[in-house]
Amino acid sequence: MKLIHHVTTTVVDIRRETPRITVYELADPDGWDLPPFTPGSHIDVFLDDRTARQYSLCGPGSRPDRYRIAVQREDAGRGGSRAIHEGWTLGTIVPVSLPRNTFHMGDGHMGDGAAHRILVAGGIGITPIIAMAEALAGSGARFELHYAARSPEEAAFRDALENGPFSDRVTFHYSNGHDGKGNGGKRAGRLDLPGLLAAAAPGTHTYICGPKPMIDEARDVAEATGRDDIHLEQFGAHATITPGAETAYVVDLARSGGSVEVAVGQTMLDALRQAGVEIEASCHAGVCTSCKTRYLAGSPLHKDLVMSPADRREFVTPCVSEVMGARIVLDL
């Protein structure tokens, strides 16, 4: 994996938050400011050439030189969280992507114009929500935060939520019936999400991040009422929003004999590089033709801006071009 094609970070702090959740702080190796992010953003964390996992940035908004992520160990999962929990130590080099925001508060930072905001987190879904709460509290905006967790022991960031500057706006909903007597924040019974949404005053925007049942419940309300002030993010389901294939296809490599699958949303160039194929590229826009590659069979959907018809009969630019049909054979 080429570090220069990623944001290179190093683990500078590790804190066990709950028995299953560990918080990691990432920084540039020289302490330089990292690419900025808005509340609700996530990053891809690259575990190796072929494996990336998405984690929301939980802050800290006050440190432009840090990314904080909370990783919940899923022993029955695909292995990413386990690899992080077992493998990362102080100083581990972690390549990540630029932050992306698919869960932002309106068009840009707090651009929804809401008079009041309800933030709802279920379990590890607290990760983008706490970044939003911190930003809203910092700007003096009105909000309330509802956090549904199984028990106080399994609630991440409990200290910040109970004792931090916005603890008076936090309500904990513990599903095991625990009253969770703590220092700050209110306690309520099991979260009644449809009730909460129905009671929201006009001008309120609601941001919800949690497991599938919680998101489904909120989506049902949004669809039944036609409301557009309910914003959802199901964790573990970030869409990759890079330009790329609209349908999946396979690239066969004539010289080396391999095959590479290009997934929906992926570019041919990314798929080839992830499979370890060395391929030059520069503009990533179909202009410089650094990545121009001969094809032997199949029909490219050319999206470059510069090649002549004659060139296009022979070459394809994997950085932007796609394929009509299921396969293409490249002279690689």
Partner: protein, 153 residues
């Protein structure tokens, strides 16, 4: 006479460029502390001898705002030296002094999608043919804010 109005560097790919009061140019290499001198730039896997330092016209930023309502700062365009009143596109193949350094312009820069990824702005097309200048460093030296650009040959 044209002069330097911005100096920026970053130690690694993707990182925000930070404004500097001066840059130290090393002949045949690059800028001390910058990603391309360290081999840690996004394009460092395609090294190019004539790309040791990059320049950009502040007038292009003004035109982007005037004509396209795109606001970019001198840190956003990701070139090292921002100039005013220097016709950079005319300098290809020519030598010029800037502060204590002597540079030779090698080719025009081309825009890249990388900058759109980082800035979140659709600037690729508006930057075609005015995306700055690449140069090699013939004599190293320090370049400071306000230094005059003296075109030699």
């Amino acid at each position: 006479m044209g002069a330097v109005v911005g100096l920026h560097l970053a130690p690694r790919s993707f990182l925000p460029m930070k404004a500097q009061e001066e840059l130290v140019l090393v002949a045949g290499k690059g800028i001390v502390g910058d990603r391309y001198e360290k081999g840690e730039g996004f394009y460092s896997d395609r090294p190019e001898e004539g790309r040791q330092v990059t320049l950009f016209e502040v007038e292009t930023l003004e035109a982007l705002e005037r004509d396209h309502r795109i606001r970019m700062t001198m840190g956003d365009h990701r070139r090292n030296i921002t100039t005013r009143d220097v016709p950079l596109n005319h300098l290809v193949g020519r030598r010029f002094r800037i502060g204590g350094a002597l540079l030779e312009a090698t080719r025009l820069a081309t825009p890249c999608r990388h900058i759109e990824q980082i800035t979140g702005l659709e600037v690729f097309t508006p930057l075609l043919n005015r995306s700055g200048l690449h140069a090699r460093i013939l004599i190293g030296g320090t370049v400071r804010m306000g230094d005059v650009v003296e075109i030699l040959t």
